[in-house]
Each structure stands twice: as structure tokens, then as C-alpha cells.
């Protein structure tokens, strides 16, 4: 299904991780000392009383199966290994690493030729921070399955983290021989080269990562470091700016399987989120409904389901679920926010204001809610209140461009262009060359109704500087405004016609209408005196 027209999934889901996600990279419990492997009997289960009943049931069933298998005289070693391993997988997914390790060790002892057991043992050791043990186990996998890409990349990764760059280099090189386009292997090879001080090589690998997968944004940071070491400060700064934390990891089918093993509300929620990320709205809704069957009072699951329904165009269902979430927990700010977004999209600003305020009461740092609140306040004609919200947002994050631009536009709408110009001048002073600020200032200088603010020559200077760095329809529009301000109406008319044609070609109907309206001004030899229309404001 195409991206929903109501509001985007990302807007609805914004802030959810602030409310209910588990911590990225959260540690596992420390593995205990090596435990004795007993392959003939089933080890007693650890304390599972704190787990949800459905998971307790799963684990107990798997344990019962293991007991029965162990007692069967005709059970083969492979049967018994599988019984230990299946229980181990459940325990691993339930974050009981010590008990899981015991079972995996038993499985490995019973069936040493099955690569899965050392693979799980490797991950158990890795997540518990025992890097040497993890490396040993990945090596065991590779003895059984020499071309296992996942193990090669993970071996490289843990070796790099252990400071064993030569082992890492070999592992990544082996992986790249098997799959020259492996993003995770190239990423590892790039980081290894960086650790070895081979900066040009690092650049080569890491640029390739981004070429193969532009979403692999974690590559930007090491790339920035490599360019910095090579003395290319421009590229270094650019990649530093683009740096994000998107994880780059192997495909890891065995570990992915673990993620869906437990029948718990939390697992269904995670699986549903994954479907949302894949824009599989129906699949997401199905997972959230499964979760709600186990935890009907979970505001988070109702909220998630609402998000999926919204993307499926089921607005009624979505609102009902958001409202259920809020009814269950009035402090549940993500649903308050989403209800606000829905109300805002329908122009119901009084309700939107109420919802955003409720979200902010529960979570005062929720900047997205504050910006949307400011927007609804502006649209409701409450300009001073909108300004106050932008100021609050800027107080906690002075470099928040969206808040600054919102403030400038509201000031302009309130006929306070001198203040708007001061805000932009100050922003440009602290971040010279910032395109958003330059553009807004040029627009204001070219079109302000306040003659003491207007400065066509300076606006033209800014426009010329920006045109050297790239061209957009919006910048063209500001260029035309500036030409008109300088009395060059013929040039403004011609440019505006070209822009209108381009907007039509791009299917930008709203922009085309706006350009046509302004064209009429230039046809009459009138300058534009509206820096931003309501539609252009956030």
C-alpha cells in the first residue's frame, strides 16, 4: 500500500521509542562461569516466574519435550541435541543467557556437526561481552561451514573490538571474496583499514558501502575520520554532518528467527514495528492484534495498532485505538500526539491544540509536539502563543532550524519583520552559509511589507550565493521576488513562467497555483509583499 494520505506512519509513531522501546544495545546479563555440560539429563529451568505466562508456558513445554526426549531409549543424539537447542533458543530469546548457554553447550556436545549451536553460543558470548569466547565459537562455526558469511563478518567484528586487527582483516577479506558486494563486510573492512591507519583504503571501502546502500549511514563517521586523517577537512566535515547510528550488520537469519520465537506482547510489538518499517501495514496490524490478545490493556499496543490502521486508511479504527490508548493511560503522550496530528490534518485546530498540550504535559521535551502545537496555534490565529512555543523549543535546542523558521514566519505574519530579520541575522552570524537561513533572509529582504526591513540588493547577493550551490523551485521563486523588488519585472515574469512550467512538470499543483498568483503581481509591475503564504508556513 502506498504511503497513507492521512498522515505519515513516522509522524504517528514519532516518540514511541521514547516511550516503550528497549534500550538499543542494552546489555545482556553477564555469563556465569563455564557450566558443566550434561547431555543426558535436562538441566532444571532457571527462575521464569517473572516472565509473562505465555512465555513461561512455551519454555515449560520445551523443557518437558527435552525431558521426554532424553528419556526415550530410541532418541538419537541429533534428536536430543535439537531438544536442547530448541529450549536454548527460547531461553536465549527470553534473555536468560546462562541457562541458554547450558542448553546450547549440550546441543553442541550431542551434535558437534550442527553449526547452529556454536553460532548461538557465539552470540551469547558476544552479547555478554566475552569477546574471546565469541571469536572461538565463530571460528567453530567456520570449521563446520567455512563460507558462512554471517560468522565471517561477526568474527571480523569481535576481532576488531578485541584489537586483533589482522584477524579482523582476514575475516572481512574472506567474506568479501564470497560476496564482493556485502555491505557489512565492506563496512568492517573499512573500519579495519582505519584502525590500521590505512586511511585511503578505508575511504575506498566506506565510500563503497554508501554507494551500495545509501541508508548505511553509520559509515559516515569512520569515513569522516578517514578523510580527516587524509587532510580532506571538507569531506570530513560533510560526512560528520551526515553521521547517523543506523546499524550495519550481517543478515543473520538464525538470530532473526529468535526475534519472533516468543509469544509475548513485547515480541509481537517488536515484530509489528518491523512490519511498519517495511510499510507492511496489514502485517503490522496483525502482529499488534496478537499482542493485544495477550495484553489488552497495553496503551502502546493500541497505539501501534492505530498507527497501522491509519496507514491502511482506516481513520475511524485508528482514532478508536488512539482513544483507547489515551483512556487506558491519559499520560500516554504518543497517542495524544497522534490524535493531535489527525485533528491538525483535518483543520480541527482547537482539538489539535488540546492534544498536543496533553502530550507536552506528559513529556515537556517532546519537540515535535511543541512544533506542531505552535503550528496549530498559528493557524488558530494565536500568534503570541505560537511564538511562545517556538521560543520554548529554541530555549532547549537553539539550533533547531524548524523552530527558528517557524518563529520567523510567525513574526512576519504578526507584522514584526524587524524582529524576524534580527533572528535571521543572528542565526546567520552563528552559522554562516546555512542555506535555510540564507533563503529565509533573502525572502524577507525581498518581500517584507516593512520598508525598513527590505533590502533588495542584499537579497540578490544572498540569492546569487545560493544559486552557486544548487537550484530549487523555491529558490527560483525567491529569485523572482528579488528581481521584482529591484524593479526587474520583465525578468521576474520570464523566470516565474519557467518556474510554473517546472512545477507543472513536477506535479506540484499547490506550488503552481502560488506561482501563478504571484505572476499576476509581476504582470502588473507590483512587487510581492507577502514573504510566506499560510500554505508555506509549517
Amino acid at each position: 500500500m502506498r504511503r497513507g494520505s492521512l498522515v505519515t506512519a513516522s509522524a504517528l509513531a514519532l516518540g514511541l521509542c521514547m516511550a516503550a522501546c528497549s534500550q538499543p544495545g542494552a546489555p545482556q546479563a553477564q555469563p556465569s562461569a563455564a557450566q558443566q555440560t550434561d547431555t543426558d539429563t535436562a538441566a532444571p529451568l532457571p527462575d521464569i516466574s517473572k516472565l509473562v505466562p505465555s512465555v513461561q508456558h512455551q519454555i515449560t513445554e520445551a523443557h518437558d519435550w527435552l525431558v521426554k526426549t532424553a528419556a526415550k531409549p530410541d532418541a538419537t543424539a541429533i534428536d536430543r541435541a535439537n531438544a536442547h537447542g530448541e529450549l536454548g533458543k527460547l531461553l536465549m530469546a527470553a534473555q536468560l543467557p546462562d541457562a541458554a548457554t547450558t542448553e546450547m553447550n549440550a546441543a553442541q556436545a550431542l551434535n558437534p556437526s550442527d553449526y547452529r549451536w556454536p553460532y548461538y553460543l557465539a552470540h551469547l558470548a558476544r552479547s555478554g561481552g566475552d569477546l574471546p569466547k565469541a571469536a572461538d565459537a565463530f571460528q567453530r562455526v567456520l570449521q563446520l561451514k567455512p563460507d558462512d558469511m554471517d560468522s565471517l563478518v561477526w568474527l571480523g567484528d569481535v576481532s576488531l573490538a578485541s584489537g586483533k586487527v589482522d584477524v579482523a582483516e582476514d575475516a572481512f577479506a574472506h567474506a568479501l571474496r564470497l560476496d564482493p558486494n556485502s555491505v557489512s563486510a565492506k563496512y568492517g573492512a573499512g573500519r579495519t583499514a582505519l584502525a590500521k591507519g590505512e586511511h585511503a583504503k578505508a575511504v575506498e571501502y566506506l565510500e563503497e558501502v554508501l554507494r551500495l546502500n545509501p541508508k548505511a549511514t553509520a559509515a559516515h563517521y569512520p569515513l569522516s575520520q578517514a578523510y580527516g586523517a587524509l587532510g580532506d577537512t571538507t569531506k570530513s566535515a560533510e560526512h560528520l554532518r551526515l553521521r547517523r547510528d543506523a546499524r550495519i550488520a550481517p543478515r543473520d537469519t538464525l538470530m532473526v528467527e529468535l526475534d519472533s520465537l516468543l509469544q509475548s506482547p513485547q515480541t509481537y510489538e517488536s515484530l509489528g514495528i518491523r512490519r511498519l518499517d517495511e510499510e507492511d501495514w496489514e502485517g503490522a496490524a496483525e502482529q499488534f492484534r496478537k499482542g493485544l490478545a495477550l495484553a489488552p490493556d497495553s496503551p502502546a499496543l493500541h497505539h501501534r495498532l492505530a498507527t497501522a490502521l491509519s496507514m491502511m486508511q482506516d481513520e475511524k479504527g485508528a482514532v478508536a485505538e488512539f482513544e483507547t490508548a489515551v483512556r487506558l493511560s491519559p499520560e500516554y503522550f504518543p497517542s495524544q500526539f497522534s490524535l493531535g496530528v489527525l485533528a491538525q490534518s483535518k483543520g480541527q485546530h482547537a482539538e489539535a491544540i488540546q492534544r498536543f498540550q496533553a502530550a507536552l504535559k506528559a513529556r515537556p521535551t517532546y519537540t515535535e509536539a511543541r512544533l506542531r502545537l505552535a503550528s496549530s496555534l498559528r493557524r488558530a490565529g494565536k500568534l503570541e502563543a505560537a511564538l511562545a512555543e517556538y521560543d520554548t523549543a529554541l530555549a532547549s535546542a537553539p539550533d533547531n532550524t524548524e523552530a527558528r523558521m517557524g518563529k520567523v514566519m510567525v513574526l512576519s505574519k504578526a507584522h514584526r519583520d524587524r524582529e524576524a530579520r534580527r533572528v535571521l541575522d543572528e542565526a546567520l552570524q552563528s552559522s554562516p552559509g546555512d542555506l535555510v537561513t540564507m533563503h529565509a533572509l533573502a525572502r524577507l529582504l525581498a518581500t517584507s511589507p516593512d520598508g525598513t526591513v527590505r533590502d533588495g540588493a542584499k537579497a540578490m547577493d544572498l540569492v546569487q550565493q545560493m544559486l552557486k550551490r544548487g537550484r530549487t523551485l523555491e529558490l527560483g521563486e525567491t529569485y523572482a521576488m528579488t528581481l521584482a523588488e529591484l524593479g526587474q519585472y520583465r525578468e521576474a515574469q520570464a523566470l516565474q513562467r519557467d518556474l510554473t512550467a517546472a512545477a507543472e512538470r513536477a506535479g506540484q499543483a499547490a506550488m503552481k497555483a502560488r506561482l501563478i498568483a504571484r505572476q499576476k503581481l509581476y504582470d502588473r509591475a507590483d512587487p510581492c509583499r507577502t514573504p510566506w503564504t499560510d500554505e508555506e508556513m509549517p
Binding site: G25, G128, G129, P398
Partner: protein, 539 residues
């Protein structure tokens, strides 16, 4: 003989921290306690302040005995050099009423009267206690303007960032946690609840207070820290990272980019961590930094950084190039891989064996409940770590050699470092969350030679926090250290400087770069004893 011996209880520190945990997983329970070593009575030995908590559950009747405690060190040193360590609980007569749920402690002489004052961070606000000089303290929080409200201060540091001779205050705030949050729960995939990570609540902006020198502080955060973002701060260390003679600030954040505030020498700072390579790991990942310390571990004259992290992340070692640009050498140094099974908190650069190279220690304890620790009241315990600096950029994990105290599993948090028995080596005071306080007395450091220096200045002769001290021994090599009380986690260290000299017993030359930018030299400073250097009395 074991390298360290716990002498807390036998010397009179019979203290068990209470966090009141009842399985509701209130976030504040997971953070404390900090500890402090400071000489509040100016008798030449280090006294102790211990942060206390209490049950947070509403309706629980407060136990009046649960409060932060002050212990006076009554060290007795006999003519033959033997000594007896004894502490007396002087809380009752001290005037300190620390009954809030405490997190941390910072020390510094805010009014230049020569008596060190005390800043306590707690759930619900902070307190500044002025040391009256007669064994008592007065709560001056309100008149000083340092309540940090609203806020969630954990670690704090005193520093003179504008060189006006008065100690200013940086408070690292952790999360925006309003009231007692009963609603937010953080189950794992199997539905088992545990403590939530800070991102669930959102970070809270740190604060910088400027001291006018007359007992009043002004919140200068907005002007002095432009672009400050609310991040969950846990550790704070101050040092001159770019060698320009002005003190900078490093903040360890939990799960988000760390911050490095470079002093612009005009009352403002510029956040430079990411560009300077000190915000994230070599891989570019923001990790959960807890404790932090700055020190010249490679003896090249600049301040390097160590950070303790979550299990599976490994401790970070950011090596300074001298200009405030860093490179993460955690993996190759050996610190990273040896620490990955641990969640570290209090830490420091300290030369436990006086060989002239800064070693390091960490107090550890998880934030995720440990499987199979059902019999432990607060099942988040891990053992401590000790690393020896090999002098070649690498560290050896000597935990297993250090003795039974390092095999003991506890929920370590704050750690303060200093020569508690004045015998020429660094001891460690460790605060455990929901556990006993440990006083790790060093039994091996003074087998090698050392020089101990207290650097004081100003009218009252206060410890000049931030002063850099260069000690040049017979080998001609200069080792730079810093007078500091900050660093570690939520704790306050001995502000004195102890430099290991190895086998060299001869007198040393000492250069001091004072926080006001001036420098002085002392020749022929005797080894194996403590010496006080007063600003203005050197050459």
C-alpha cells in the same frame, strides 16, 4: 599480601547504602551512590562523605537514620611511620541534613576561606553546604542559587572556568523524571520487568553556575553553553584538553553523544566532542558512558580520557593529540576487550603501583538483572576491575592478581581516589548501590618512590583545582598530573597530586601551571613525603 584490603568496617565506616528497591523499578534506585574524599577539617588527612538513599515508595515512613554521612578521619601516624586509620561518624554535629534520596557529591572551596565545601546531588534537587571551618556546615543552597531545580543532577564538578579566582559549578543532569514515575515500565521480550534506560524519560540539560566569589552563583547555562542539548549526563571531568591554559569540560552521557565543552576564553564554551573525536566510539556509536576521568596516561603532556560503559560495549580510551582532538584506542589498548563483560561506573586514572604510569580501576555493576542471582538482594552485582598501564599504550588486566576484594561481586557505583592513610599510595573508596561501602587500602604502591603535592592558592589557601603539576625526576622525564576533585562517577576525589617515581628516590623539580595562567617552579622537592606548594612561593 593482597594488593588492596577493605578496611572500612574496622576503621569505623560501617555504612550500608539503601536504595529501597522493592521491585517497582523506580529509575533513581539504579544510579547511586557517590562517595567523597575531602579534608573538611584541614588536619591533613582525608575525611569521607557517603551518599545515602531511602525507600522511594510513597507512604513509606522515612527512617531518620537514612541520611548522607560524614566521617572524620582520625588518622594516627606514629614516629616509626606505623599508622592507625580510624573514622568517627560526625554527621550529627556537622549540620549536614542530607535526607533526600542522594545521587552524588562534589567538593570545592566556593568562598576561598580555605575550608572545602560540599555539593550534594539528589532526587528532587541539590544542596550546597558551606564549611564553617569549625567542623560544622551550613546549608546555603537557597542564597547561593545552586538548587538545580528543576533538575536531576548526578555528577557535578567545581572549576574556575573564567579565571576570576572563584570556583564555578557544572552540574550534569541525567533525565527529565517528574515525580515518582510509576507508569513507565520496561519489560524485556519475555515480559520480565527491569529498570528503564534514560531515553525513555528523555535527557535534561546540564547547568553551569558562575560564582561571583561572594557566595552567590548565577545560572549562565544559556549564554555559556550555546547549543546545549538535553542529554542524560552521568559523569563529568574537567581539564585543559587543548593546552591553552583554560579549563574545559567533558561530559559522559548515557546512550547519547558525549559532550566536550572547549573553553573559548570569553566566558563561553564551544561543544566540540563530535568534531574532536570524543563524542562516540571509533565506529561512530554513541555508547552508555557512565564514569569518566581525564589524565595523562601516556605521559606525553596532555589529558586523555577514559570512560566506563555498559556490558558488551567496552571501556573507551580517547587519546589526545595535544590539541583537543581524540582517537578511540579502547580496542588496541586492551581496556576495551577486557571490560566488555562489565558495566562500569566509578573510575579514575591513578598510579596504584607508583611506577610513574597511570593505571585505572572501575567499580562495576549491571543495570539489567543478573540471571541466577536470586539470592542477592539487589541482583546487579559484578566484580571490580584493575588495569595496569604497561607504558606502551596498552593495559594489562591485573584484576585476578589484585586480591580477594577484586573477586567480590557488588553493585559498584561511585569511587573516590586518594591517599587516605597518607602513606604514599592511592587508596579507593567505593560506594555500592544497596550494599556496603568499601575502603580499599593500597598495600603495594609505596613499595616504590613517590612525591605527594598539595597545591594551594588564594587568600584562604584553597586547593587549586585545575592546576597542572609537572614532576621531573632524575630520569629527566616530566610527568604531568592535575589537581582535581572531579571525574569518576558522582564522586569527589582527593584534590592532592601523588606522582609515582618508580625506583628513583631523589628530589624532583615541580612545575605548576596555575588555573589563572601563571606558572611557577620548585626545585629540590623531597620524594616520599607530602609537600604543600603555595601559589606565589615558587620561582
Amino acid at each position: 599480601m593482597e594488593w588492596f584490603t577493605d578496611r572500612a568496617q574496622e576503621s569505623g565506616i560501617d555504612f550500608t547504602h539503601v536504595n529501597g528497591a522493592t521491585g517497582k523499578f523506580y529509575y533513581p534506585e539504579i544510579l547511586p551512590p557517590g562517595v567523597a574524599l575531602f579534608d573538611f577539617d584541614n588536619d591533613g588527612d582525608l575525611d569521607v562523605y557517603l551518599v545515602q538513599g531511602h525507600p522511594l515508595e510513597p507512604g513509606t515512613r522515612p527512617d531518620p537514620s537514612l541520611r548522607g554521612r560524614l566521617y572524620r578521619n582520625d588518622l594516627e601516624v606514629r614516629a616509626d611511620g606505623t599508622r592507625t586509620l580510624h573514622f568517627t561518624d560526625v554527621t550529627a554535629q556537622s549540620g549536614i541534613e542530607a535526607t533526600a534520596f542522594g545521587f552524588g557529591v562534589a567538593t570545592g572551596d566556593v568562598d576561598n576561606d580555605g575550608f572545602v565545601d560540599l555539593y550534594l546531588t539528589s532526587f528532587g534537587g541539590s544542596q550546597l553546604y558551606r564549611n564553617s571551618g569549625n567542623g560544622t556546615f551550613t546549608d546555603i543552597t537557597k542564597q547561593s542559587g545552586t538548587a538545580n531545580e528543576p533538575g536531576f543532577g548526578v555528577s557535578a564538578a567545581f572549576l574556575d572556568y573564567d579565571r576570576d579566582g572563584a570556583l564555578d559549578l557544572y552540574v550534569g543532569n541525567n533525565v527529565r523524571y517528574r515525580g515518582l514515575d510509576k507508569e513507565t515500565v520496561c519489560p524485556n521480550p519475555a515480559g520480565a520487568r527491569d529498570y528503564c534506560p534514560p531515553q525513555i524519560y528523555g535527557g535534561f540539560p546540564d547547568r553551569l553556575y558562575h560564582n561571583d566569589g561572594k557566595g552567590h552563583f548565577t545560572d549562565v547555562t544559556a549564554k555559556a553553553l550555546p547549543g546545549l542539548r538535553p542529554r542524560p549526563a552521568l559523569g563529568v571531568a574537567t581539564a585543559d584538553f587543548d593546552g591553552d591554559g583554560w579549563i574545559d569540560i567533558y561530559v559522559a552521557d548515557d546512550g547519547e553523544d558525549n559532550m566536550l565543552w572547549m573553553n573559548q576564553r570569553n566566558g563561553t564554551f564551544k561543544e566540540s566532542a563530535l568534531a574532536g573525536g570524543a563524542a562516540v566510539t571509533a565506529e561512530g556509536k554513541a555508547e552508555a558512558s557512565m564514569g569518566v576521568d581525564a589524565g595523562d596516561f601516556d605521559n606525553d603532556g596532555d589529558e586523555d580520557l577514559i570512560m566506563t560503559e555498559l556490558t558488551s560495549q567496552g571501556f573507551n580510551l580517547y587519546v589526545n593529540d595535544g590539541g583537543g582532538r581524540f582517537r578511540d584506542q579502547g580496542a588496541v589498548s586492551g581496556l576495551g576487550p577486557a571490560s566488555t563483560p562489565f558495566t562500569g561506573w566509578g573510575t579514575a586514572w591513578f598510579d596504584y603501583d607508583n611506577d610513574g604510569w597511570l593505571d585505572t580501576f572501575s567499580a562495576n555493576g549491571t543495570i539489567i538483572m543478573l540471571e541466577g542471582h536470586q539470592n542477592v538482594p539487589f541482583p546487579y552485582d559484578q566484580h571490580r576491575l584493575l588495569f595496569r598501564n604497561l607504558g606502551n599504550g596498552r593495559f594489562e588486566d591485573v584484576t585476578a592478581k589484585a586480591g580477594s576484594l577484586f573477586a567480590m561481586s557488588e553493585s559498584g557505583r561511585g569511587a573516590a581516589f586518594g591517599d587516605i592513610d597518607n602513606d604514599g599510595d592511592i587508596d579507593v573508596l567505593v560506594g555500592n548501590d544497596a550494599g556496603r561501602t568499601r575502603l580499599l587500602i593500597n598495600n603495594v604502591g609505596n613499595r616504590q618512590h613517590w612525591v605527594g603535592l598539595r597545591v594551594v592558592g588564594g587568600a584562604g589557601g584553597r586547593d587549586m583545582l585545575g592546576a597542572r603539576v609537572g614532576v621531573t625526576g632524575a630520569d629527566g622525564k616530566t610527568r604531568w598530573r592535575r589537581a582535581r576533585a572531579d571525574g569518576s562517577y558522582a564522586s569527589a576525589n582527593d584534590p592532592r597530586v601523588l606522582v609515582g617515581l618508580g625506583a628513583s628516590s631523589g628530589p624532583v623539580t615541580v612545575d605548576v601551571k596555575w588555573p589563572d595562567g601563571t606558572a611557577e617552579r620548585w626545585n629540590g622537592v623531597t620524594a616520599d613525603r607530602w609537600t604543600t606548594l603555595r601559589q606565589g612561593e615558587g620561582k
